[in-house]
């Protein structure tokens, strides 16, 4: 346990020892703010118009319009952005030769893997907490529901964790960070759009594709539905990629 934390601490230090951490935070918050204010302004206009008609005023909901749309937009940004956080985790160790230091120290490969993953999860969590400042303002001027908002955040965290597990795997494949990041973006996008092909499919194929795609599961969380099958989906998805990574880094030492 301690060993995992040592690795995590080192990775967090390196995120902020180079510009990577700052750039990712800044760009993320900028894009978040851009989406959020844009959608909020549009919502405001709509709300003003609809206030004249009591029937429509009942229909309009800040959770559904503002938060849910922002979250959906952000997932697309995440699948491009988060591999930038994970790309160096293994690739750089290989390039620098520091993996020889790690693997000749009395710590296990799984501790190294979990330490690195935990560091990237902490980065993600901090990003999400910072972004929540924007949401806080809506509570001063309106009364959004808290539970769906929190579930939306949980969904964002889970989807981000899944993207990063994929990113970690591709980082372990190559010592070239650019290769790692492009592979991860491609894989993330493919998995993300699986549900699009589900539209044209039918029967079993459609339900399998739907189950495998991120979108279906994310939708439910954002709509405020807490279903264990969605949580289990994201957790098992991340676990699967971590397991692949672990097998890969173990096996390359035996080749």
């Amino acid at each position: 346990m301690k060993n995992i934390w040592f690795i995590t601490k080192k990775e967090l230090g390196l995120y902020f020892g180079s510009p990577v951490g700052y750039v990712v935070f800044a760009i993320f918050l900028f894009i978040w703010g851009y989406f959020f204010t844009g959608i909020l302004r549009w919502f405001n206009d709509q709300a003003l118009q609809m206030a004249q008609n009591p029937y429509y005023a009942q229909q309009i909901n800040i959770n559904q319009v503002v938060f849910s749309s922002t979250f959906h937009n952000i997932t697309i940004f995440f699948l491009l952005l988060l591999p930038a956080l994970t790309m160096r985790l293994f690739a750089e160790e290989k390039k620098l030769g520091t993996e020889e230091l790690l693997y000749t120290s009395p710590i296990t490969a799984s501790q190294i893997l979990l330490g690195k993953y935990l560091a990237s999860l902490i980065m993600l969590a901090v990003m999400l907490v910072l972004s929540a400042i924007a949401c806080l303002f809506t509570f001063f001027y309106g009364n959004p529901e808290v539970a769906p908002l929190l579930l939306g955040y949980l969904g964002l965290f889970l989807i981000g964790a899944a993207f990063m597990a994929v990113g970690l795997f591709f980082s372990s494949l190559s010592e070239n960070q650019v290769v790692a990041v492009i592979l991860a973006m491609g894989a993330n996008l493919l998995i993300y759009i699986l549900s699009w092909s589900a539209y044209s499919a039918s029967g079993l194929r459609a339900s399998v594709l739907n189950y495998l795609s991120f979108l279906q599961h994310f939708d439910e969380l954002v709509r405020g539905i807490l279903d264990t099958k969605d949580i289990v989906y994201f957790l098992s998805f991340s676990f699967f990629w971590l397991f692949l990574t672990h097998s890969w880094i173990q096996s390359r030492r035996w080749r």
């Binding site: 060993n3 040592f6 230090g13 620098l96 790690l102 693997y103 000749t104």
Partner: protein
């Protein structure tokens, strides 16, 4: 302290080392000598548990490298060929991280870092980023990193490579100062490194053991075939036949401008030889006794010699 038996490593079709067997006693500095691509790094990587061997056994500090890798890793301080450093960390932060993953207990960490910094003379660069310090300092950080957890065994892969002559001397002095309780195995492809710092040497070539002996016994085996190389300004081929007539000389051979003269043990016809050179006006450029270099070259280019 280090024992290697019939160690073999294959990378696919390529055999990097084959049936290596050697032993390093406790408290000695031993050199692993061989030309480039001889299998030195592979041997060290197996000893440190970085890669597994294809066949054979290796024990370090009494622990089997394959059966008890964690105990071995605790007992070893390792400087890989490429010094493992994070350019974006400060020297102090890097050493703290290494102390943590090498399982130095929290209460002893600060003291361990201070000791390693002092031993390697890093006081002046402690707070600097690793990417901003010189090659020599980076090498020292690499050695400090290996010393942190006070290991019984130090394995240093080419510790002086890429350094300038003054830095090489410094690092050698540093390594010599570590002699004592620790057992040190260092690899190199330059012989003077061995003759100046080591107590003994394992010579490998193309993955095979060529020799394993203490420096003292190697030197005496060199002395056994006494002789000199004489480099002349002119007339080397004629000089070879001339020198053979000097009493005590067993055989001579000319090679370019140099004549190799072998004599029987106990004889020393150097006076007669130099007199002859002066009388015939051959122009003496150099007179050099056989050294360990000549033995090394013979071993590496020719057959095995135990």
């Amino acid at each position: 302290m280090i024992e290697v038996q019939d160690l073999t490593k294959k990378y696919g079709q390529l055999t990097a080392i084959k049936d290596l067997t050697f032993k390093v006693e406790k408290g000695l500095i031993w050199g692993l000598l061989g030309p480039n691509a001889a299998g030195k790094t592979t041997t060290m990587r197996i000893l440190t548990g970085y890669i597994p061997a294809t066949d054979g056994r290796a024990t370090v500090a009494g622990y089997d490298v394959f059966e008890q890798p964690n105990e071995v890793k605790r007992a070893i301080g390792y400087l890989p060929e490429v010094v493992p450093l994070y350019p974006d960390m400060t020297v102090a932060a890097f050493l703290r991280f290494v102390a943590e993953i090498k399982q130095v207990p929290k209460a002893k960490r600060a003291a361990a870092i201070d000791r390693a910094v002092k031993a390697t003379g890093l006081e002046s660069v402690r707070g600097r980023l690793i990417k901003n310090i010189s090659r020599g300092f980076k090498q020292r950080v690499g050695i400090a990193q290996a010393l942190l957890h006070d290991p019984q065994v130090l394995i240093l892969d080419e510790p002086t490579i890429g350094l300038d002559p003054a830095q090489i001397v410094e690092i050698r002095e540093l390594i010599k100062s570590l002699r004592g309780e620790r057992t040190i195995l260092l690899s190199t492809h330059i012989l003077p490194e061995v003759t100046q710092t080591c107590d003994g040497v394992v010579i490998i070539n193309e993955g095979r053991l060529m020799a394993c002996a203490s420096l003292a016994s190697l030197t005496s085996s060199v002395a056994h075939g006494d002789g000199v190389f004489i480099r002349l300004r002119r007339g080397a081929p004629e000089a070879a036949t001339l020198f053979r007539q000097v009493p005590g000389v067993e055989k001579t051979a000319a090679e370019g401008d140099t004549v190799r003269v072998d004599w029987a043990r106990g004889q020393d016809p150097r006076d007669a030889l130099t007199r002859l050179v002066v009388e015939k006006g051959l122009g003496l450029l150099e007179l050099r006794p056989f050294g360990i270099e000549d033995l090394y070259l013979k071993i590496v280019s020719g057959g095995s010699e135990q």
